[in-house]
């Protein structure tokens, strides 16, 4: 108790006084009080002390070594920093989840000091706020949508577009042509009205000539021009989109598993597909229309003002109002249509749920309830859709009327000018045609900033991936080596997140050709051990050696080529069985494939399929049982002929009979290779040379089955527990039989 009371000795003093000039490693916000109010307090970490304040008043102070250990605890909606003082846990500070990584990082340091490490150093972690505007980065990226350097992004996009300059040139030409055609037509109309069909004129040849010309340059020319242009632009943007997608995809392949698994698959898929798609459609539609509209606005504006500036002003009277309304209406539209879209989405997924769960629905006799549920959703969807239609159909005619007001003013003024002889009839027609053409471009310009910023954000998110540096990277002098198979781990520490250690101080030395069984409760770190050997991740501390060489000095592709993996959930690609077996060795001959399949005990079931080895598997293909998939993946590993073999729960999801077949296949595969096998059923590890027993990230026992069993430690307990389970099943089975 006295230890805890000592915590509060400096309470109430000013932080500067208590710090007394000591270096501060970190000052971390703690913004939730112990009784759950928002406050502004800080946790100071110095080389020797932890000090907690409220504002600048100290509330707690302790020497780091006063506690045995420190930890962070993530709760729902908040987290806390705890210290263990003589077996009594104490809450030092609470904070909102944003601060979690900062605290976790501090805890690493605190624990090093508390455990008496020699030279503890404090590693900084970055905050997740934009240094420019202080906005929080909205996602895992480090992109602040408000502070993107747009010019930089545009420059980079242009650089990417450069190889396609020929197409771009054609597109530009077509733009000028299209704008020219647009502008020339009203001109022709004026001449036609004023000179060709004016009273007293009856030149039939001129008449026919003008009509043909107007048709040719008008509807015909414009359509041809539009068609060619959209063909060319589509091709251009498709090529650009594909370039981008390929670049992102290649980069993702190069990045480590750590990077990929840290992000949500959805987020990455988004970047590969949606973001590149956004950029593509921006180029294809919006950019095109902007260039076009810009040219048109300049052209028409100039003509209108030069011909008659008073009338030009009249046309533009409603413009500001119209643009204002359109901008405001946009968000309403967006919201309304989004809602409609979401309801339709929900109705659809409900339907899908019900259809795919039909057997369950029927089995429990719940048809009526499901019908009611569906009807409710579908009615809401219908209601919202109808309301939106009503909105749409009132809004646009009204807007049209508003835009039209300029033209009425124009008619009035133009009529007067004709009477006064200052304007011809053709002149007025020409003028009002031009005036009508101004609204489309104006409207598009209202939406432009939004489109632009969407595209820029998408581009930036894509570039972020492209700029990412792989954290499991090949060293420039990484070597290609032929592996014999000795594997050593020296004081390896690792955690998927830096603040949650999963493996602690792992030291092992595995001889070439040895078979090692990894056992332990689920979550103990067995698969993680294997991930490190495959170098899907690099250890946080310590080294992994293969044949005495640091794995970081071996080229990754070379390393993986010599490691074979058979997992619990074998992954088969969409394609034929043949392709799946040959995956790691595409140039394998047919007889090699069949031999591999035979060794894997897969040949016979493959031959039972109508299409034999050409049978399609994967998402749309033949349905295979777990055991069949497993044997195909074993055949793949056999063909791969790795020096180091990894079996992670390879037989966990198959029935006992198939298990025998697979065990049998694996026994052949294991010969003469360094093997790491994880198996739930311990009996399958009997023929391992040694067993490593994992518990909470540490290897706690090591030795042969007999040794460990006789030792009577954790392994013994695991084995006995399984035996009990087995016996229980046997007896309950016989009970059922009787």
């Amino acid at each position: 108790m006295s230890d805890i009371a000592a915590l509060f000795l400096s309470a109430g003093k000013n932080i500067e006084t208590v710090l007394d000039g000591e270096t501060v490693h970190a000052k971390i916000l703690h913004d939730v009080s112990l009784d759950g109010r928002y406050i502004e307090g800080w946790v100071y970490v110095t080389p020797t002390r932890v000090i907690v304040t409220l504002g600048d008043q100290v509330t707690k102070e302790m020497p780091i070594t006063a506690a045995k250990s420190y930890k962070t605890l993530g709760l729902i909606g908040s987290g806390q920093l705890e210290a263990d003082v003589d077996g009594t846990p104490i809450i030092l500070a609470r904070f909102n989840l944003r601060q979690m990584p900062l605290y976790a990082n501090a805890v690493k340091f605190l624990n090093k000091v508390a455990s008496g490490a020699e030279t503890p150093f404090y590693t900084e972690v970055e905050e997740r706020t934009c240094p420019k505007c202080g906005r929080i980065y909205p996602d895992e990226s480090r992109i602040c949508p408000a502070c993107i350097n747009r010019r930089q992004v545009v420059k980079r996009l242009m650089k990417m577009a450069f190889p396609h300059w020929k197409l771009i040139f054609v597109v530009t030409l077509l733009f000028w042509l299209r704008a020219g055609l647009n502008l020339i037509n009203p001109q022709l109309f004026r001449i036609f009205i004023d000179e060709v069909v004016a009273p007293g004129q009856a030149d039939v040849r001129l008449f026919v000539f003008y009509i043909s010309l107007i048709t040719l340059l008008g509807p015909v020319g414009q359509s041809v021009c539009d068609m060619t242009r959209s063909l060319v632009v589509t091709r251009l943007s498709a090529q650009l989109g594909q370039d981008l997608r390929n670049m992102v995809y290649c980069k993702l392949q190069a990045l480590s598993l750590n990077y990929v698994s840290k992000r949500k698959t959805g987020d990455l898929m988004n970047r590969v597909n949606n973001d590149t798609g956004t950029i593509q459609s921006f180029i294809q539609q919006q950019l095109v229309s902007v260039i076009n509209d810009g040219l048109m606005l300049i052209g028409i504006g100039t003509i209108l003002f030069i011909t008659n500036w008073q009338m030009a002003l009249m046309v533009l009277v409603p413009a500001p109002l119209v643009m204002f309304i359109m901008r405001r209406a946009w968000s309403t539209f967006d919201r309304r249509y989004h809602r409609q879209w979401r309801l339709s989405d929900r109705t659809n997924s409900l339907l899908q749920d019900i259809l795919s769960g039909m057997r369950v629905v029927k089995a429990f006799g719940q048809e009526k309830r499901e019908i009611e549920r569906f009807t409710r959703y579908s009615k809401r969807w219908a209601d919202v859709t109808a309301a939106n239609e009503r909105f749409y159909n009132t809004f646009f005619p009204l807007l049209g009327f508003l835009m039209g007001t300029g033209s009425y003013l124009l008619l009035w003024r133009g009529g007067v000018e004709i009477w006064q002889g200052e304007m011809t009839l053709g002149g007025l027609v020409q003028y009002s045609t031009y005036a009508g053409m101004i609204w489309g471009p104006l409207r598009n310009f209202t939406f432009m900033p939004r489109w632009f910023s969407q595209a820029m954000t998408a581009a930036e998110r894509v570039f972020e991936i492209l700029d990412e540096h792989p954290d499991v990277d090949d060293k420039p002098n990484a070597k290609r080596v032929k592996i014999a198979g000795r594997v050593q781990l020296e004081h390896v520490y690792f955690g998927y997140r830096s603040y949650e250690p999963v493996l602690l101080d792992i030291c092992v030395d595995v001889a070439e050709g040895e078979m090692i069984g990894l056992v332990g409760h689920s979550g103990a770190g067995k698969s993680t051990f294997i991930n490190l050997v495959c170098r899907f991740y690099d250890p946080d501390e310590g080294r992994i050696l293969i044949d005495g060489m640091d794995v970081r000095d071996i080229q990754q592709s070379d390393l993986r080529r010599q490691i074979g993996v058979v997992l619990q959930e074998p992954f088969l690609f969409s394609g034929s069985i043949y392709e799946n077996i040959a995956y790691a060795k595409p140039d394998a001959t047919a007889s090699e494939i069949i031999r591999a399949a035979k060794i894997a005990n897969a040949h016979d079931f493959i031959m039972r399929f109508r299409d034999g080895y050409d049978t399609k598997v994967g998402e749309r293909g033949q349905r295979l049982s777990g055991g069949e998939r497993q044997r195909i993946s074993i055949a793949r590993a056999i063909l791969h002929d790795p020096r180091i073999l990894i079996l992670d729960e390879a037989t966990a999801s198959v029935d006992t009979e198939t298990e025998q077949l697979i065990q049998d296949a694996l026994a052949k595969l294991v010969k003469n290779r360094t093997t790491f096998a994880i198996a739930h059923r311990l009996s399958t590890l009997r023929n391992a040379n040694r067993l490593f027993v994992f518990e909470k990230g540490k290897i706690v026992e090591m030795g042969t089955h007999e040794d460990l069993y006789n030792q009577g430690g954790i392994y013994r307990k695991l084995v006995d527990a399984q035996m009990d389970l087995f016996r229980m099943r046997e007896t309950s089975l016989s009970a059922v039989k009787e």
Partner: protein
């Protein structure tokens, strides 16, 4: 305790329901909850809600420091008010969910929503991902708002908000 499970299965559902008169909760110097249950002493326990969204104070699982269940409290209302308050404080700590009283500002920008709210714990600014990921409808009138870090904010009844806040939220629902 009566359950609706068929009687033949009852023996398999070994739920320990904590008897209020046998429980003695207290607060440790370190800020944790401790429990004396009859003869047994647990220096540190934690409380978990079984139905955090629907039955807040009912069916609370009390677990020891190894997260092993000691038993379930059927309803906190059966406890004396000091005892219930100790457990409530512990629940409060685990499920830190400020209640939004006023939405001062809500700006949707670049696909993210920047919020400024006043909660029962004080004012707060936060950022949430687009509306689909950040608004969790709990019932027709209740929503949870999740920010980008996983912090939670509760709006127990949208209808009880002032007009301006309701309108801002409405636009997301």
């Amino acid at each position: 305790m009566s359950t609706n499970l068929p009687d033949a299965l009852a023996e398999y559902a070994e739920i320990v329901f904590l008897a209020p008169e046998k429980c003695k909760f207290s607060m440790t110097a370190g800020g944790f909850l401790a429990l004396e249950y009859g003869e047994d002493k647990f220096p540190v326990v934690s409380a978990y809600r079984s139905f955090p969204l629907t039955l807040g104070d009912k069916y609370i699982s009390i677990r020891d420091d190894k997260e092993k269940e000691i038993g379930i409290i059927v309803d906190l209302a059966d406890f004396s008010s000091d005892q219930a308050n100790l457990v409530r404080a512990e629940l409060e700590r685990r499920y830190f969910t400020p209640v939004v009283e006023t939405v001062v500002k809500m700006k949707e920008e670049f696909g993210y929503i920047y919020w400024e709210v006043i909660t029962d714990r004080g004012p707060r600014r936060f950022t949430s991902r687009g509306q689909h990921d950040s608004i969790v409808p709990v019932s027709d009138t209740r929503i949870l708002i999740l920010d980008v870090d996983g912090n939670r904010f509760d709006v127990p009844d949208v209808r009880l908000l002032d007009a301006k806040s309701a309108k801002l939220l409405e636009s997301l629902m």
